[in-house]
């Protein structure tokens, strides 16, 4: 299983994905430098990604805490999520995300 992560240079990286891991962990384990300063505890907003609109409905929506934390991210759009709050399942095989500015 894989996810596709577009890095800040616009390069698409295919990264191996493991069930139950957060997308933040998958990105970091895949060797892409992501700040993710709080280590996945929804307390820093430096794991901000844009989820490809085609995949948005397959992911459980952001909780109140995540929405609040996104206030500390930059250039937040309707596709914005914190990668540490998206947990990988087999339904997400092929998920496409793009790193946001300020998360490197």
């Amino acid at each position: 299983m894989h996810i596709y992560c577009t890095d800040i240079e616009g390069k698409v990286n295919e990264l191996p994905a493991t069930e139950e891991w957060s997308v933040m962990e998958i990105i970091r384990e895949g060797g892409i430098a992501m700040l993710a300063q709080c280590g996945g505890s929804c307390a820093c907003a430096t794991c901000h990604v844009y989820v490809d609109p085609a995949w948005k409905d397959k992911i459980p929506p952001a909780g109140e805490e995540e929405i609040g934390m996104l206030d500390g991210a930059f250039e937040v759009t309707a596709d914005s999520r914190l990668a540490c709050q998206i947990f990988f399942t087999k339904e997400l095989d092929g998920l496409k995300v793009t790193l946001a500015n300020g998360s490197m």
């Binding site: 500390g72 930059f74 937040v76 300020g102």
Partner: protein, 347 residues
């Protein structure tokens, strides 16, 4: 102003960082009669616990089934009270050097000078600093017309000001600077604010009366000349970006941790962490220790409980530097009358 010798504060131990580990270090050092001065850039103690998760529960503190970040900080402050530590808050430890008589001198950005035979680096993930906006070319304006904190309100007098953010800092400054500035536009990504309800209603009232503008948008660019901001580009969801003329911007996106000046203290760092010997937690410099999140050794886990253990071992090695003519004696707090004296429990 030049500092004379009298301005130098002499103490036993200087602790850089007043996070949970710096605070507990006061206890372990205090038991063995070592007095501490602590420095933190934040204006309150507690480090990550106080700044990042004051309301969230911690479950893995031994014998404390649950407490929040704020509660842990409060309890540590209560525990170290008998040792009356001195705090230098809102100050960045900027420089560390060796003095002629072999002590360490630490100087802060406010000119506070401390001298001691022992320095404990409990700097965690680095010093807390405001997040900077990752916009192209913004560096040219930072410090001249783009700011992440307010030092003097007067410097915004008669300015056409953009304030970005949706938390307490953004709202407080928007409300306070509105009468000072020529005009204030508050820009936030959504029409909801995570701030004190009172500030939110004050802000809404100012907007309703036309005294202040509110835009629900992202800031996507800055432009101007010679360090002087002329406009910001603002994009509302589903609309084309527009330029908003202004001459200053204040941006509040929360804090982030940056290693900062401790990198230049002469202490060896590897990947922004200080390698230490796990028997003593001493660094490459004699009398300089590193405990808590800032250090690294085989098997290191960035946990509060690990930092507490590190503080106890550090204190043992620090003792002879502070009291060269005294012998360190291992004792239990339960039964040692000597420790009871230190704790102020000897009546």
């Amino acid at each position: 102003m030049t500092n004379t010798q009298q301005d130098v504060i002499s103490t036993d131990v200087i602790i850089v960082g007043a996070g949970p580990i710096g605070l507990f270090a006061v206890f372990e050092l205090g038991l063995y009669d070592m007095k501490c001065h602590l420095i933190d850039i934040l204006d309150r103690v507690g480090g990550q616990c106080a700044e990042l998760y004051p309301e969230k529960p911690i479950y893995d503190i031994p014998a404390v089934p649950v407490c929040t970040g704020a509660e842990l900080t409060e309890r540590l402050m209560e525990q170290i009270k008998p040792f009356s530590p001195t705090f230098h808050l809102g100050q960045m430890a900027e420089k560390m050097e060796k003095t002629a008589d072999g002590k360490w001198r630490v100087t802060t950005d406010r000119g506070t000078m401390l001298e001691a035979p022992v320095v404990v680096l409990a700097a965690g993930g680095g010093s807390f600093v405001p997040k900077k906006m990752p916009l192209k070319g913004i560096e040219a304006f930072e410090g001249t017309s783009v700011f992440y904190a307010v030092r003097k309100m007067e410097s915004f007098r008669d300015k056409t000001l953009v304030i970005s953010g949706g938390g307490d800092s953004a709202l407080d400054w928007a409300i306070n600077l509105q009468p000072v500035a020529k005009h204030v536009t508050l820009i936030h990504r959504r029409d909801e604010f995570r701030a004190a309800p009172d500030s939110v209603s004050k802000m809404r009232a100012l907007v309703a009366s036309g005294a202040m503008d509110l835009k629900i948008a992202n800031i996507t660019g800055v432009s101007g000349q010679g360090g002087h901001l002329e406009s910001v580009t603002m994009k509302e969801e589903g609309k084309d970006p527009v330029e908003l003329p202004c001459d200053s911007m204040l941006a509040f996106y929360g804090l982030t941790m940056k290693l900062g000046p401790v990198a230049d203290f002469g202490i060896t760092f590897e990947n922004e962490l200080v390698p230490v010997d796990t028997a003593t937690f001493e660094t490459n410099l004699q009398g300089v220790f590193a405990i808590g999140d800032i250090n690294v050794y085989p098997g290191k886990m960035k946990l509060i409980l690990s930092g507490f253990h590190e503080a106890a071992l550090m204190a043992k090695k620090a003792f002879p530097y502070v009291h060269p003519d005294r012998r360190y004696r291992f004792q239990y707090t339960t039964s040692s009358s000597n420790l009871h004296k230190q704790l102020g429990k000897d009546e």
